[in-house]
Amino acid sequence: MIEKALKGSSVYWGWIIFLLCVIGAGFMAYLYQLKVGLGITGMSRDISWGVYIAQFTYFVGVAAGGVMVVIPKYLHHYSKYAKIVVFGEFLAIAAVVMCLLFIIVDIGQPMRMLNVLLHPTPHSMLFYDMIVLNGYLLLNIICGYNTLLADKKGVPCPGWVKPFIYISIPWAISIHTVTAFLYAGLPGRHFWLTAIMAPRFLASAFAAGPALLIMILLFVRRVTKFDPGMDAIQTIAKTVCYAMITNLFFMGCEFFTAYYSQVPGHMHTLDYLFRGLDGYGELVPFMRAAIVIGLFGVFLLLVPPIRRNTKWLAVAAASVFVATWIDKGVGLVIGGFIPNPFETITEYHPTLPEITIATAIWGVGALIVTILYKVAISVREQQAA
């Protein structure tokens, strides 16, 4: 089946080569980082996690978001998703691989990575994160590959795959819950120490993942002979809309608790992110933009005539993706370290090699999506013909 990825137009191959160049550049930068150390990044004693972990956190969400097409199809027999579930699963595969790569590039001694298996530590949330992420990757490979293979052969999906599909649903919830627990259980980091962290992570995940899926499916619809079906895309759009509203609501809850209680520790990071604190506020324009863009996206999705317009739908999906990305892929992780335990402020500026490496991992994700989607679309086109 995978051989279908080897036949494509010159545009397809051009895109692949472009991605390989991006990945190659990042790989060189990574070799440099491996030789010199993580000192080549903008991270410091105060901001000890940066772009890598922030992107990791965001893409766990994208991976978990895939479940939003799995649930309607397999729990509610929503047949309009029949043809696109595999795209959700393949997107999840790419996102999980990105997550694992972001972890690998972030650790100081990657050659000792297997110590996590050699000395399993059940009281560390990272231990569970390793289990759930690798498990989710495996589940999606099993489910995605086998359902597509069955479609290709024109036979129903084999029965033994079903249990894996059902397991993958709570498993998707678990990956983002555990990722939220990485943060929500740390004393002394007030911004992260909130019981609403996991629900908020899930809400933003169910907005971001499906939003990305909408953008890709709209693109697929334009450039290939396979039509995912506008009805299906509209249903995903509604999911994104509800999830994004929930996400913004949870954000509002955080604001209320902090500012109504007036407890300084609860307000400091929000101050830094949205108003500036002690003269520091480099992220303020971005964070404010995230709120505006997010609200704008919700507005577009809420009004049915606008949502049904393909172009506006693309804009809405992009808005939600960008808004959640700024919120979770930048502000959440960096903000947690500001102010530091001494209530002083160090700001964070990612360096060029750091960004090159992160971009390369985006490139790997894009490459996996491209190849897997090429296979899936070829199968769908063949089915239609």
């Binding site: 004693r45 996690w49 100081g108 001694q109 231990f127 740390l186 520790g265």
Partner: protein, 272 residues
């Protein structure tokens, strides 16, 4: 092959008595102190079966802030960083700190009081708190950082994978990461006249480090380096023993501990 706590303490005491007598600042050195520790059993044979018997050794550090001055701070920091070959990067981005100075309002940001003219601006010494309930140990995925039975939160540089989860978890900012190769900088410093302590290793890039309460010196029956050079400022002893030097001092002085509301139970006390 491994040895229980009793034998360990006996051995530590023996080395002490043979080679290093006369340094009265360190509780273990006092005649009878070692035996006193041992009669409690520690985690040795007698320890088994006694359900309510808590740990019998819990090392603690008392810092007399009122006796601190610039000169002593410099001496203490220099001694510690020399003993453990901590490079002096001189920039906050790569900084490695085992013990360092900061003002009251940064050490106790939660109890800052703008009218407290006595404490505000006063220099404090910061170090790892060797918490009784350490969040860093809870989050470490490989047990590279762990709590020894004597309360010392140790760091195994051989095992650390450099994920820096412990740095995010530590509410005291006590942990430093080797963003670059510390040896590269140490070599530069050696060229400028720095002396290396060849009895203690360096670290490698990509691992986290912090104050270790001088376990390597305790093993030899010596007091921590900071206590040795400033015996009128730093006091080290067994918090679990009601008759220890530190418990006696704590009975008489007002003491502060950092961020108690987080439930970490620090083993470093500030005397005011």
């Amino acid at each position: 092959m491994s040895m229980d706590r009793r034998k360990f303490l006996k051995a530590a005491g023996l080395t002490t008595l043979v080679g290093l007598g006369g340094k009265g600042v360190f509780e273990l050195l006092k005649p009878g102190a070692v035996e006193a520790e041992m009669t409690h059993g520690g985690h040795g044979e007698e320890g088994h079966g006694e359900k309510d018997a808590g740990p019998k050794v819990r090392w603690a550090m008392l810092i007399d802030v009122m006796a601190l001055n610039k000169e002593k701070i410099e001496k203490i920091v220099h001694t510690c960083h020399h003993l453990h070959n901590v490079p002096n990067w001189g920039d906050p981005k790569n900084e490695i700190m085992w013990i360092w100075e900061d003002e009251y309002e940064h050490v106790f940001p939660d109890s800052y009081n703008e009218y407290n003219h006595i404490l505000n601006g006063m220099p404090f010494l910061l170090m790892c708190n060797h918490c009784d309930n350490p969040p860093c140990v809870r989050v470490c995925p490989v047990q590279a950082t762990f709590r020894r039975p004597d309360g010392i939160v140790a760091q195994d540089y051989h095992r650390c994978i450099g994920c820096r989860f412990c740095m995010a978890a530590c509410p005291y900012g006590s942990r430093s990461f080797n963003w670059l190769d510390p040896r590269v900088h140490l070599e530069k410093e050696i060229a400028e006249g720095r002396k290396l302590n060849k009895r203690f290793p360096t670290r490698m890039r990509g691992v986290v480090e912090k104050c270790n309460f001088c376990v390597e010196r305790l093993a030899e029956g010596k007091p921590p380096g900071c206590v040795e050079v400033a015996p009128d400022v730093m006091f080290f002893g067994n918090l679990a023993d009601p008759n220890s030097n530190v418990r006696k001092i704590l009975k008489e002085r007002i003491s502060l501990r950092r961020k108690l509301e987080l439930g970490t139970k620090p083993s470093v006390f500030y005397l005011i």
